[in-house]
């Protein structure tokens, strides 16, 4: 495989541009995941705890939204943020903020669905007790979230994996603008299109390393927290 050798030698020549692109990818995806966690965890926990008509159907819908196609999210957001769209006056199209919004839209249902499952499982053990205390649904949700907090790291990592690796949404709403909205995935796609396959692969290795580092950091953090507060 001569391309493998070429790829590895390209790794040494990657310049500051690549660092900036990698940083933008991280910045956008971590922010999107943070928003996803902020919205998705309470939403998912409430779904597990609250009893309301149509809950089963809505839960199914929530689970289905885990498979939301990124390119559709990108397209819908594009039409909304376009100058001719309802939020066009904000001028957000082709900015990192638009990419964050797109990835947050992908992350939120994923976090919510996974949280709902984890909280529902915890409820099997604790639910009876909580209900017998006469706590409101939000209070119950809060206690259960705290109870399963370490399991939610997995939900966060799944959301991060989905966000950092997707290209369909960021390409459409970001526009892959050099030095402005170019992320690792859109850069890899562009180099592939230009036929520079070894550079594309080298960028791919950088992206994979980023994902591994973030996952390792989360695992360390989780282990540390479990020992301290477990």
């Amino acid at each position: 495989m001569p391309i493998l050798h070429e790829t590895l030698s390209r790794l040494w020549t990657l310049d500051r541009d690549v660092l900036a692109i990698a940083w933008l990818s991280l910045r956008v995806s971590l922010t999107a995941v943070s928003i996803g966690l902020l919205l998705g965890i309470p939403l998912g926990a409430l779904f597990a705890v609250a009893r309301f008509p149509g809950r089963g159907a809505l839960t199914g819908l929530l689970n289905a939204f885990m498979g939301l196609p990124p390119v559709i999210v990108g397209l819908v957001l594009y039409l909304v943020l376009s100058r001719s769209g309802p939020l066009g006056s904000l001028g957000l199209l082709f900015t990192p903020s638009a990419m964050i919004a797109a990835q947050a839209t992908l992350a939120t249902p994923l976090v919510a669905a996974l949280t709902r499952q984890v909280v529902a499982d915890a409820q099997v053990h604790l639910g009876e007790q909580l209900r017998s205390l006469g706590l409101s649904a939000p209070r119950q949700a809060g206690i259960l979230i705290y109870d399963v907090r370490f399991s939610l790291v997995t939900a966060a990592l799944a959301a991060f994996g989905r966000a950092i690796s997707e290209i369909g949404a960021v390409l459409v709403v970001g526009g892959n603008i050099d030095g402005h909205t170019r992320t690792m995935t859109t850069a890899i796609s562009l180099e592939t299109q230009k036929g520079d396959l070894s550079l594309a692969l080298a960028l791919g290795l950088v992206l994979m390393s980023l994902v591994v580092v973030v996952n390792a950091a989360a695992a360390l953090l989780r282990g540390h927290a479990a020992r301290a507060y477990g």
Partner: protein, 281 residues
């Protein structure tokens, strides 16, 4: 509940930090314009060469969104670009006629090349464009089409028509409509050993050629002119007229034209300035 509060606080702090890190650099942009352009100008590396020169002179940041010509014009119609730089004359004239731009300026041209496998099973090497396309259809030789409403796609469709080929009835398995940009289409052609119409700039910058080579070039029908237009601010108030006009003016100025002419790959000039060339409209 103390622990819960503490962990919530941690999450909240992380969020605030993350958000501020994400939004801070994005908002500070004094003068930046969005140019909707084509994959050929982006992937050939022309903008990467031109924009720093323009920025140096004016301080204006140019953000290029590379799309097919049809898509680029649509984005500008929606008001999502300040300037368009594309290559499909009929579509550009329609854009002006519809009032989305007040004027179109010639900027530069390059040409299309008909590329195919070295073995050339359809035997089109060195013939004229019309004959080449007729032979390709007759031989049912594998052909990759952009199929994405780009300027190159339009040129390809015109070429079949001029060769007297009715694509609707002639197309079959040999005609692969990939619906992608120039680069991916070239990648596909390279993998299939297929024929393809490409703009010379992208071809010269393209690295994964396999055994593809130029078979037909130099026919006047392969002329590929690029035009630049400022989006009409009467249609979209968001258009940055001053900066956008500055970019258009610079591109057609002697300085901009020289910059275009001096962009080379491997000693070959990719685009030929023609803003003031006689005989062009």
């Amino acid at each position: 509940m103390d622990r819960l509060r503490r962990s919530l606080l941690t999450v909240g702090l992380t969020l605030v930090l993350g958000l501020s890190a994400a939004t801070a650099p994005a908002s500070a942009e004094p003068s930046a314009i969005v140019v909707a352009s084509t994959t050929s100008t982006e992937q050939s590396g022309l903008f990467k060469y031109l924009l720093p020169i323009f920025h140096e002179k004016t301080g204006i940041d140019v953000k290029v969104v590379a799309l097919g010509t049809g898509q680029a014009l649509d984005a500008a119609r929606r008001g999502d670009a300040d300037v368009v730089l594309v290559h499909d004359r009929p579509a550009e004239d329609a854009f002006v006629a519809q009032g989305f731009a007040k004027a179109r300026r010639d900027v530069m041209y390059n040409d299309f090349v008909l590329v195919g496998p070295v073995s050339d099973p359809a035997r089109i090497r060195g013939v004229g464009v019309r004959e080449a396309f007729a032979k390709l259809a007759a031989a049912k030789a594998p052909f990759v089409s952009r199929g994405d409403r780009s300027g190159t796609h339009s040129a390809e469709l015109r070429s079949w028509k001029e060769a007297g080929v009715d694509l609707a009835s002639a197309r079959g398995d040999w005609y692969r409509d990939v619906g992608q940009g120039m680069g991916p289409a070239l990648n596909t052609a390279s993998a299939l050993g297929a024929y393809i119409l490409a703009d010379r700039g992208t071809w010269l910058a393209f690295k994964n050629r396999g055994d593809l080579t130029i078979l037909v070039q130099g026919d006047p029908r392969l002329f590929n002119p690029y035009g630049v237009m400022l989006v009409n601010p009467e249609r979209h108030a968001s258009v940055k007229v001053k900066e956008g006009q500055a970019f258009v003016d610079w591109l057609v100025s002697p300085e901009g034209q020289n910059a275009i002419a001096s962009y080379k790959i491997g000693g070959e000039q990719l685009f030929f300035p023609n803003a003031h060339a006689p005989g062009t409209r």
